[in-house]
């Protein structure tokens, strides 16, 4: 089992009249960002990620989101750059660069390659499509999203694995001279992770390329379905999925007593789901971002907007794990048996959780949870 500490770097301060805004993305005014508070937060969050190495995590994760209080990382590569020389052992995972939003995907290839060379090959390169609202942010046509993702991916992989200049022509990208300097250090290229919602197309694509899939914000039952689908897809492509290909991202919170754990977690988790993930549906699902078939599937899956979940529902359905260290260890052991993941991404700071609580949560995870799960073989994983 590999343990990663995932960060979203939320900007937790919201005005008293926050309820008047229909979303915390895109149109939520940036006057609500105070750069002086941001200065403090960036340093606390980066301290947390650096501390993860000291605590024995295998990796740390940064990500990309735009125009929102949900997270302050429009560029994961800049964040990874800040961490590259302050760490020496952990993997640094950018989960991930939003490929279709780029008109120049080669810039991603170059930046990830720099980081890979500087860190001596500690980079994990996540590729994502970006979420629907970000197609408004970049005026990028959501109807082209999947094509652009596939083309940009193919271009980046070829740019990393070719040692001679080549010309690239695809529907959305044309570059007569591709010849990136530096080339990545890891061969043939850094590992690729794809987080997200488990559409059939995505899971089959991930399995075909033998990449790592990471489930995000889903009830346990749905996560189980996705991870089983990934294993089945790997089988279709003629191999057995490596546990490390199977990842899950989970908000986790621990305190000495169950009551205290829930008291704290409720506040921070509700910030994440009701403030950070406050979306306007028309922005979140622009036309073509999902195919007609996938949209039909989602509308019949019984998922509701994050803002409508109560704390109890989130806990009961498995969106987050909260309790004493003993309770959390027991729950994660059960989940490990059920889901069979070999890559565990933890969200140990989430929402408006202050620095001291995040640090304590990380320490408890490292001392009370990691030793029990590391090297553990799941009892009944698999489809």
């Amino acid at each position: 089992m590999d343990f990663f500490m995932f960060h979203l770097m939320p900007y937790p301060h919201v005005p008293a009249n926050f309820d008047e805004y229909e979303t915390s993305w895109l149109t939520y005014p940036n006057k609500h960002f105070d750069p002086n508070k941001g200065h403090l937060l960036y340093h606390q969050y980066l301290d947390q990620l650096e501390y993860a190495e000291e605590l024995g995590f295998d990796g740390i994760c940064v990500n990309e989101h735009h125009q929102t209080t949900y997270g302050m990382m429009p560029s994961p590569n800049v964040m990874a750059g800040l961490l590259a020389r302050r760490t020496s052992k952990v993997k640094i995972a950018m989960i991930g660069n939003a490929l279709p939003l780029r008109d120049h995907p080669l810039r991603v290839a170059e930046e990830v390659a720099i980081l890979d060379v500087v860190t001596g090959g500690r980079v994990v390169s996540g590729f994502v499509r970006g979420i629907g609202v970000e197609y408004f942010t970049f005026a990028s046509n959501p109807a082209h999203s999947r094509d652009r993702f596939n083309e940009a991916h193919d271009l980046i992989i070829k740019s990393w694995t070719s040692d001679e200049p080549f010309a690239w022509t695809s529907k959305h990208y044309r570059f007569p001279y591709v010849n990136i300097w530096p080339r990545p250090l890891q061969q043939p290229h850094p590992p690729i992770w794809v987080p997200g919602y488990g559409s059939t197309e995505t899971l089959d694509w991930v399995a075909k390329h033998r990449y790592t899939f990471m489930s995000v914000y889903a009830p346990t039952a749905l996560t189980k379905r996705w991870l089983d689908m990934l294993r089945e897809a790997a089988g279709r492509h003629g191999y057995e999925a490596d546990p490390k290909q199977i990842g899950s991202l989970l908000p986790i919170y621990m305190a000495e007593t169950e009551q205290e754990a829930h008291e704290h977690a409720e506040q921070h988790l509700m910030w994440l789901f009701h403030v950070g993930l406050k979306h306007k549906l028309e922005y979140l699902f622009p036309p073509g971002y999902m195919s007609v078939g996938s949209m039909r599937g989602m509308m019949t899956a019984g998922i509701k907007p994050f803002g409508l979940y109560t704390y109890k529902e989130l806990i009961d359905e498995g969106y987050a794990i909260v309790g004493t260290p003993d309770q959390v260890r027991e729950k994660l052991t059960e989940l490990h048996d059920l889901l069979g993941f070999g890559t565990m991404a933890t969200l140990l700071q989430f929402g408006d959780m202050p620095h001291d609580r995040a640090i304590r949560n990380m320490e408890l995870f490292a001392s009370e949870i990691m030793p029990a799960l590391r090297g553990r073989v799941p009892a009944v994983a698999g489809a």
């Binding site: 408004f136 005026a139 990028s140 046509n141 959501p142 109807a143 306007k280 549906l281 028309e282 922005y283 622009p286 036309p287 073509g288 007609v292 949209m295 039909r296 509308m299 019949t300």
Partner: protein, 259 residues
């Protein structure tokens, strides 16, 4: 009375509604907007009392096939309609387009001015006027859309089911994807269209709803300014879909113009 048929245009199956007396002196070709495909409305019927009216569905809309590999942008749709006009042997066409269809109509007339006897643009998009932005339809909720398109939102209840089923919602989603392919960015515009409008020599009527909450009337004024032979007529008491809100007044304005 009208008939519904399917024709093949360059490999794309097109759903065509047609009604009214066939005459030797040409037909009205009506091009729908982002909504309103596939339905013969009272407005069509009023035009068809006097004229031969053809109302095809754009590829990706109504009963026509999806054709995402060949209709990627507005210029592809222009060539699709040039093929349709040629295939049906239409000449002396009185071209009428609403909103997105108005933009399409202007592009067609720029491309082949000699094909068209008259041009009627119903609150067309197509021009890029940053100082008079078109409201963002893609970001609107269903209620916001109704409030923008109709001056009297209760009109929408006559068109949309009170409790739409999944197939109805998916149908709208499919058309929104087709719309996005044509109009996501630049939003509802071809920045080059304005400087090409001088090519349109036929008489043009630009109709605008008095209370258009979606596309500012300055777009209509700019069309009239750039077109060699055009006038602007305002239809009172309606928003962006006058042919739905006031079919009689809209049909009369068009018939008075085209004769």
């Amino acid at each position: 009375m009208h008939e519904s048929s399917r024709i093949d245009v360059g490999g794309v199956g097109v759903h065509l509604l047609r009604g009214g007396p066939r005459r030797d002196d040409g037909a009205i070709l009506f091009l729908h907007g982002a909504g309103g495909a596939g339905v013969w409305m009272p407005f069509h019927g009023l035009l068809a009392e006097r004229r031969d009216v053809l109302a095809p569905d754009h590829p990706g809309f109504g009963g026509s096939d999806d054709a995402e590999d060949v209709i990627e942008a507005m210029d592809d749709l222009v060539y699709h309609y040039l093929a349709l006009i040629e295939q049906l042997g239409l000449t002396n066409v009185d071209l009428v387009g609403s909103s997105l269809g108005g933009w399409l109509a202007a592009e067609l007339a720029v491309h082949h001015p000699e094909l068209f006897r008259t041009l009627t643009l119903l609150a067309p998009v197509g021009l890029e006027l940053p100082e008079h932005p078109i409201q963002d339809l893609f970001g609107m909720s269903p209620d916001e859309t109704v409030a923008a398109v109709f001056h009297d939102p209760s009109i929408a209840a006559q068109i949309f089911p009170a409790e739409p089923d999944l197939d109805f919602i998916m149908g709208l989603y499919r058309e929104k994807i087709s719309f996005a392919r044509l109009a996501w960015s630049p939003y509802c515009a071809n920045p080059k269209l304005e400087r090409r409008l001088h090519r349109i020599s036929c008489p043009t009527l630009v109709l605008w709803g008095e209370h258009d909450h979606l596309v500012p009337i300055q777009h209509g004024e700019r069309y009239v300014e750039r077109l060699p032979d055009a006038r602007l007529q305002v239809l009172p008491g309606v928003s962006h879909a006058p042919f739905i809100e006031e079919p009689a007044a809209t049909a009369k304005a068009i018939l008075d113009f085209v004769g």
